[in-house]
């Protein structure tokens, strides 16, 4: 395959048909798939963390909290989690996305876009008009994804310091 054809093929991976992808609230039975995706992506299994996230955002979610999964062919292939937070950091109520991931073999087919569209629709229904997120500056993949969706640098600057002893 010529380099040009290869580049074009890479640019347009086979998409998961929109009709084949269902975005829905997480169920208890999805948790293993969510843990597996996160473990595959981060290289670290965080079972207790995900159980606690499920308890807070899944089964007993507060108003404005969302834990959605993308399902295709009977398999969970991505998820997104977020909630509306009021007056945190002095900001008027807005939607925060604090986790998103798509199984590596299912990427580049619009699943992340559908997940973000769905959670944003939920935020709109909850009455907020802005969505924010925060991630590591070296997480180029997810940064590029959010940028491609129209997100720009916000008016907050994250700061941190080491706590010695």
């Amino acid at each position: 395959m010529s380099r040009r054809k290869a580049a074009r093929a890479e640019a347009t991976p086979p998409p998961v048909p929109r009709c084949d992808l269902a975005i829905r609230p997480v169920r208890r039975g999805d948790l293993e798939a969510v843990i597996a995706i996160d473990t595959q992506v981060t290289g670290l299994e965080k079972r207790d963390y995900w159980r606690s996230v499920y308890r807070r955002y899944g089964e007993a979610a507060a108003p404005g909290a969302q834990f959605l999964v993308g399902e295709s062919g009977g398999e969970v292939i991505g998820f997104i989690i977020g909630e509306v937070r009021d007056w945190e950091f002095g900001a008027p109520p807005c939607g925060w996305v604090f986790a998103i991931d798509v199984r590596p073999d299912a990427r580049q087919s619009g699943i992340g876009t559908r997940l973000l569209e769905s959670i944003s629709a939920g935020f709109r229904r909850a009455g907020v008009r802005k969505v924010r997120t925060m991630l590591a500056s070296d997480n180029t993949l997810i940064l590029s994804f959010f940028r491609s969706q129209g997100m720009m640098a916000g008016r907050f600057i994250p700061l941190e310091m080491d706590l010695d002893g």
């Binding site: 040009r4 580049a7 890479e10 640019a11 500056s137 070296d138 180029t140 940028r147 491609s148 129209g150």
Partner: protein, 146 residues
């Protein structure tokens, strides 16, 4: 942050090429559109061709065409070919505590700039061009009335 002329010429050219990847565009057309020196632009395009980002097409209707993946090519990939991104230090090798403290602060800015340029692909830049950028309206009004 200000980009050097070569970086700007490269990005101007790439938005033209990537905006219509099937079209061959003559360097002269880009030079005229952006009011830049054709000679200067030719050098920039030669570097982009060497990097495999564009492909030169000879003959009638020749010029250059886009040869990369706009969804993968980042602004940093392009700019780093023409300038050293994030060289903001005091150039004194941390000789004094003031140099070291200033270098730490400038290093923060460099890291943010690099992360930003690395997260914006050419495809995202093309999409941004279709959107209304905050402040651009006021600026273009000021420009047209100047």
């Amino acid at each position: 942050m200000k980009l050097q002329q070569n970086s700007l010429l490269a990005l101007y050219s790439l938005v033209e090429f990537a905006g219509d990847p099937t079209r061959h565009i003559a360097a002269a057309e880009i030079a005229e559109k952006y009011q830049v020196s054709p000679h200067h632009l030719a050098k920039v395009l030669a570097e982009l061709a060497r990097a495999g980002i564009v492909q030169s097409v000879r003959g009638v209707g020749g010029g250059y065409r886009f040869a990369a993946n706009a969804r993968r090519l980042t602004l940093l990939d392009v700019i780093a070919r023409f300038e050293d991104v994030g060289s903001g230090s005091t150039d004194r090798n941390g000789r004094t505590p003031a140099d070291r403290a200033l270098s730490a602060v400038l290093g923060e800015i460099d890291e943010m700039a690099k992360a930003t340029l690395k997260s914006v692909t050419l495809a995202t830049l093309l999409r941004l061009m279709q959107q209304k950028v905050p402040g651009s309206e006021a600026q273009s009004e000021a420009e047209s009335s100047a």
